[in-house]
Point group: C2
Chain length 292, copies 2
């Protein structure tokens, strides 16, 4: 407890953190927002899909009468690049318990024409208004203690495929799911990790949209490498996360026809399942996993 | 084989069946379609969400350059009623492998005003163009033979909550997941069933959109009853189903805060995982399960 108290003096907090600054949207007119997509959230040349989801999620939280994302479905159209972008939202329906909105992110191409990057349908509500019944049969991922897990910063075997986004995140992966980084993928479609923001900011519903798409892809443990672009990603936020690190597990059970699904669970420090997601992604087959 | 051959003489076929007639949309102008939602697909007073998804799926198959739904995300806004409706589609992006579209279904209220019932974002492709690699670690649901399973038509314990839609479907539920119908729900969030269309029409990608939302809700086996309205439902169609009955399993692992997720898997007669889905639904807590 005392260690945590000391450390918390230096930690960023929701509202004043890297994640908050980099996902901040500026209202140009009702329902329309400007944003500068930050290069710090890229994987290779492309902006991370979870960061983009958090940007659109923040715009919708402003545009809709409810502020918490309950279920967000994104279809990714073209790869986003760092730089200016505009978010256009539409309020589809407002209700007492739930409101539904739509949002799209656009950037300009080399000819100055607007190109749509992704489109989102989302239903928002108030997490604090939900009853506190919990009948979860799912169990938290079996993760070793954080000091027995490994992140991109840890030697002597740095995680392959390092990207700018790794500097924004606190990722500590279960060694049992890190075989791919040593050239020996397990063949199981699983990845498990401790997750946080590098500056110590605690999770909130918006950062959960990032958490579900921030681990290395399960495809790596299936012996594949290269880009695994998301076609569609849907996130359910089920509870406001407690302070402290999150645990994220992702699982693939059906790699077929050049596509795979990736299911994520996000658990908070009080053993509550706070978010679930599923995505459909394309895979490039036949290549060996990256070696460090 | 001979029995099947005889039976197939009387079976409806894709393109000429109850499902095809009742989901047929009539193009009014490019991208706009008329449909009469049929009373045969209702549960209580509301039109089944899977049937609605198939209706929008058919409109998008016409509007987009690709004809197979790969991933379809629906947000349900208001309950649909039998009767006339209009589907408005928008082509969001067309690509070589995938095209993305949006569709909404509208009906008129008692004042003649249009009310949006559900909105869908979907990415379409060509299932027959996919490579035939399969690395599925998921396993088909453990279902007893069909003659040891029970459907709404079977006595002496008819399934409670019978609705018009049961006459359109061939449902044979695993007795191990039917405790709720006898007043003794298992407490496990699982439901497993053989699935087909009552007139014998074989499955195709469009009817898979129906299959994922056609079983009694897992909530019944959790001891709940009443309506479990879908907030959002996303379906991935992964392969064109082989002829013959499907097996559908649905699972709930996180009933909390008045909401639950329901994951469905649909397996075809050749043991291929042809569709996966997840929905977020609202639940009414505290009531005992219906007794027959």
């Amino acid at each position: 407890m005392s260690e945590q108290a000391i450390a918390s003096d230096r930690r960023a907090v929701p509202g004043d953190s890297e994640f908050d600054r980099d996902t901040a949207v500026s209202r140009r007119e009702p329902g329309v927002y400007d944003i500068d997509l930050r290069a710090g959230w890229t994987i290779g040349n492309a902006v991370n899909g979870g960061y983009l989801l958090a940007v659109l999620g923040r715009a919708l939280a402003d545009a809709l009468p409810h502020s918490d994302p309950f279920t967000v479905s994104a279809h990714y159209l073209t790869a986003s690049r760092p730089g200016p972008a505009v978010v256009r939202t539409e309020t589809v329906r407002t209700g007492r318990t739930l409101s539904t909105g739509q949002a799209s992110l656009y950037q300009r191409d080399e000819h100055g024409d607007e190109v749509e990057r992704l489109r989102v349908l989302a239903s928002y509500g108030d997490l604090d208004a939900l009853p506190d019944d919990v009948r979860t049969t799912a169990t938290p991922p079996a993760l070793p203690p954080m000091d027995q897990c490994f992140g991109p910063q840890d030697g002597p075997t740095p995680v392959a495929g390092g990207s700018a986004i790794t500097g924004r995140l606190m990722l500590k992966l279960d060694p049992a799911t890190l075989g791919w980084a040593l050239g020996a993928p397990s063949g199981k479609g699983e990845m498990r990790s401790w997750f946080g923001l590098a500056d110590g900011r605690d999770a909130d519903p918006l950062s959960l949209l990032l958490a579900v798409d921030a681990l290395p892809p399960t495809a790596f443990e299936l012996g594949l490498s290269g880009w695994v672009p998301t076609v569609e990603l849907t996130v359910h936020v089920r509870h406001r996360p407690a302070p402290g690190p999150l645990r994220v597990s992702i699982t693939t059970r059906n790699l077929a026809g050049g596509f795979l699904e990736e299911d994520a669970e996000v658990w908070d420090s009080s053993d509550r399942l706070v978010a679930q997601s599923r995505q459909l992604a394309r895979v490039r087959l036949g290549r060996p996993a990256n070696r460090p």
